[in-house]
Symmetry: C2
Subunit: 210 residues, 2 copies
Amino acid sequence: MTTLVIGANGQIGHQFCALAAQAGLPIKAMIRNEDQRAWFAERGIDAVIADLEGDFRHAFEGCDQVLFTAGSGPHTGSDKTLLIDLYAATRAIDVSRELGIKRFLMVSALRAENPQEAPEKLRPYMAAKFSADAYLRASNVPYLILKPGRLIDEPATQRVATSLAETGGENTVSRANVAHALVHLVQAEDLTGREFHLLDGERGIAEALR
Amino acid sequence: MTTLVIGANGQIGHQFCALAAQAGLPIKAMIRNEDQRAWFAERGIDAVIADLEGDFRHAFEGCDQVLFTAGSGPHTGSDKTLLIDLYAATRAIDVSRELGIKRFLMVSALRAENPQEAPEKLRPYMAAKFSADAYLRASNVPYLILKPGRLIDEPATQRVATSLAETGGENTVSRANVAHALVHLVQAEDLTGREFHLLDGERGIAEALR
C-alpha cells in the first residue's frame, strides 16, 4: 500500500518519512512548496506539491492509504486550527471516501476525546481534533486514530504505553516514538476501526498497538 | 413540544423568544447568568441558567426539542468559535441523543456548506459551522438545519427566499425574518432531516420552508 503523507514536512512527518524510506515503504509526501522538496529528494522520497487550504485532490493519485499528520499544533492561532486541523482534515476524509482510499490514519491527540479535561488554553485545539476524529468515524472510510500524549523531543526508545494508568499518569511521548508507531501502523494493514492512546512506556510497539 | 433555546440571550435568540412567547409556544431559555433572567421574566419566559462551556445537561429537563442558536458570531476570536460554535454544539447534540430529544434545530450559515467559497476572513467560522452541521447529520438525532445568509438588522418582512438564484445573488436576511422562520420551524413538527437556506425574499415563510 502506498501511503500519502499529509503533513510530511512537519516534525512527526519528517521523522516518519525518514523511517519509512529507510524501511523501503512506499510513501508519497505531500508538501506545500518546491522549497520543501530537497529534504525528501535527498532521501529518495517521492513528493507532491499541494495546498491543504486549496486544491489537493491530485496528491492522492496512486495512493492506497492516507496518513494525516498535518497540524498547526496547539500553539498556533485558532484560525489555523480551524482551517487545517479541522477543515483540511474533513476535506481529506471526503476526498478519501470519494476515491475509495483503503484506510485513513489520523494523528489526533490524547485529550481530543474530552476537550473539557484538557488545560484551558489547549481546549480550542482539542475541540478541533475531537470534531475531526468524529467526522472520520462517521465517514465510512476505514480508519485508525492514534492519540499521542504531550509531544516531546527525545530519542526513540521504541517502548510505549497505551494508557495513563499504565504510565502512572505520565502523559508524554516522544515524536520519535510516534513516528515509529506510525511506521508500524501503516504496515498493519488489517487493523481498522481502532483508536490508540500513545505514551512513552515499556512495551514494544507491535505488541502495544494491535 | 417544549423547545430549549440555546443561545436565547443572543440577537436572534431574543427575537425568537419574544415571538414564541407572544404566540404562546412552550419554550425554555438557556441563559448564562442571573443578570440575563429579567428580560425573559418580563415576557413570562421560563429560563434556566447553564454554562455552555461547562455543565448544561440539567437545562434539557422537560424539553422535547432543542434550538441551537448560540454562536460567538463570525467576528469574535476563533478560540470562542471552536469552543462554542463547534464544541458546545457537538456536546449539545450528544446530550440530545442521550436524552432522546425529538428534534434538534441548528442555526447554521449559508456558507457553512462550502467554507472555501466564503470570504477569507469568514472561513474559519464557516469551517466550525460546517463540522457542527456534519456532526448533527451523523448523530441519529432528528434534525433541521437553517442556513441564513448574511445577517442584517431590518424589520421583519416575513417574506423570504431559499436560494441565491431566487434573489439574484442578494445574500442578506434580517435577524427578524430568521426569528420568524424559527417560530415556524419549531411548530412544523413533522419536518426532519431537512436543510434550508434563508434569505430575504418574496415568499411566505410557511410556503418557503416546507
